[in-house]
């Protein structure tokens, strides 16, 4: 197995009294695409949001157990540093509506009070937009509001916003579920490109998408991690019955 970047040890997550995730143990390899699958409500989003500690924002929500990013305990890390290292792209595109495309891309810096020179900004914006394969489409309209873009473009803008922070890991929560097939395909291609430089954890309901794009797949069911394996192995030869039922479409 490749170097592991994220180690999850005995993670439990709660909403109030309700235990949503129980005893998740997982090692995530670097520079790979990891797909999280499972029926609705099984805790994929909760797991993802535990990794960048957005989960604990909900009143009454908490976690137990440990998560290490490069051997460093994320619950002891500075939140700002952690979230710069672990970016997130949401289900629905959510560019900041008061900001232009340009401002959106570097918003992680401006909002955190990190000052950049003009040339640094321009370089960062172009670089991030190129990586998100949006540059060609928007280079002449950088100072228009991000919300004027199409849904798929907005989603790529959000990806660029994450990329600009130069994270180690990017979390995607069903990034294509609100997009049309063409935009989805673009994002999928993009993910394959990004894997050279980033580790990608993606929640998806789309089995084909998981099979096409990911290197590893984790299957969650009722708050437990049922199976984690190379995607090809998991799909062609699932070790657990629930996994087999799920990928053969018998439930979910």
């Amino acid at each position: 197995m490749e170097n592991s970047i994220l180690k999850v040890e005995h993670l439990n997550a709660f909403f109030g009294e309700a235990k949503i995730l129980s005893d998740i143990i997982l090692e995530i390899p670097e520079n790979q695409i990891i797909a999280l699958m499972g029926p609705s409500g099984c805790g994929k989003t909760t797991f993802l949001r535990s990794i960048n500690r957005l989960h604990e924002l909900t009143p009454g929500a908490r976690t137990e157990g440990k998560i290490y990013l490069f051997e460093e305990d994320i619950y002891k890390m500075n939140l700002i540093v952690l979230r710069r290292k672990i970016g997130m792209v949401f289900q629905r595109p959510n560019p900041f509506p008061t900001m232009s495309i340009f401002e959106n891309v570097i918003s992680g810096y401006t909002l955190n009070g990190i000052s950049l020179s003009k040339s640094q900004k321009e370089e960062l914006v172009e670089d991030s937009l190129r990586k998100a394969s949006l540059w060609k489409e928007v280079q002449d309209n950088l100072h228009k509001k991000g919300t004027f873009l199409s849904g798929g473009q907005q989603q790529r803008l959000c990806i660029a916003r994450s990329l600009s922070m130069k994270p180690d890991i990017i979390l995607f929560d069903e990034p294509t579920s609100s997009l049309d097939p063409i935009s989805s395909n673009k994002i999928e291609e993009l993910l394959l490109d990004l894997k050279k430089d980033y580790t990608i954890i993606i929640v998806t309901h789309n089995l084909q998408q998981a099979a096409r794009t990911s290197d590893y797949t984790a299957f969650f069911y009722l708050g437990e991690l049922i199976e984690f394996n190379k995607t090809q192995a998991l799909f062609s030869n699932p070790a657990k019955r629930q996994t087999e039922d799920y990928i053969s479409g018998r439930f979910g």
């Binding site: 924002l57 700002i80 949401f90 629905r92 959510n94 909002l111 955190n112």
Partner: protein
């Protein structure tokens, strides 16, 4: 055509015409009032009307400069007090709507909205005018500010509540601290709602007489000291319309016209703000 269907069709027609008729009937008084005020007031309006003091009884002409300046100052000071507090309270209510305190604050706001303005005037008289020993524009502003709070709080709360959580989360996920997320993302997005709520509340209190009777009191001269009694458009209308002199009635109609037009203007500005500044998300 089937008889039953025909009957239904006619019922629909009658229902629709009924609604339209009632709507027209209910707006008719408003239009008549507006028309009457314009008709009565417009003859008083000329340049002198805006730059002169009211004339003593028996003299023709005169203007309402004291009331114009007074209304401006009193409402401005009231806004200065009400808008920051109202916006912050609205922010609190939308951000922490699960808190117990928020529940009680919300309830208080609803009750506050129902307090008759004359009662507010009397309370400010007891709490501010009496202890300081004299009527003042400031005490009037305080009374108006309290009246402005509920609509500002409500409109801020409603606007901010509409902002999708995911936009806040996008900011937090970038490592931006909570307070900065509020100041740099949430408030700017709500700005148009806060502003239009504020302007609307200004237009509502601009015509209030009752809270000013025992506070700002009125003043036949130009005064710009907020610690002294001050005139205002509704006070001037109240005093002059109630007098026995034709010339003063004319002045009151003119002032009513100016007041109505300003309120109309403010309402238009609000509508434009709401449309132009609509932030889409």
């Amino acid at each position: 055509m089937d008889k039953a269907i025909k009957l239904r069709f006619y019922k629909d027609r009658i229902f629709k015409s009924g609604i339209i008729l009632l709507t027209v009937l209910s707006t008719l008084p408003l239009l008549l009032i507006l028309f009457y005020i314009v008709k009565q007031g417009i003859t008083s309006i000329n340049w002198d009307f805006f730059i002169n003091l009211p004339k003593p009884v028996g003299e023709k002409g005169g203007g309402i400069i004291n009331a114009l300046i007074g209304s401006g100052i009193i409402v401005f000071c009231a806004s200065l007090m009400a808008i920051p507090f109202g916006a912050l309270a609205g922010l609190y209510l939308s951000e922490y709507n699960r808190d117990k305190l928020a529940y009680w604050v919300g309830l208080c706001v609803d009750v506050l909205q129902g307090i008759p303005s004359i009662v507010l005037g009397i309370i400010i008289y007891l709490w501010v005018v009496k202890p300081t020993g004299h009527f003042s524009a400031l005490s009037g502003s305080i009374a108006l500010a309290i009246m402005m709070l509920p609509p500002i709080i409500k409109s801020t709360e409603e606007t901010l509540k509409l902002i999708p959580v995911t936009i806040k989360e996008a900011s937090l996920a970038l490592g931006v601290p909570y307070y900065k997320t509020i100041l740099r993302i949430i408030l700017p997005m709500g700005l148009n709602g806060i502003l239009s709520g504020s302007i609307l509340s200004i237009s509502r209190v601009a015509g209030e007489t009752a809270p000013l009777l025992f506070t700002a009191f009125g003043n036949p001269f130009i005064n710009t000291n907020i610690l002294k009694p001050m005139s205002s458009l509704p006070l001037l209308i109240y005093n002059y319309a109630g007098s026995a002199y034709e010339d003063w009635h004319k002045l009151a109609w003119g002032a009513s016209f100016v007041l109505i037009m300003s309120i109309l203007f403010l309402n238009l500005v609000t509508k434009i703000l709401e449309r132009r500044w609509r932030i889409q998300f």
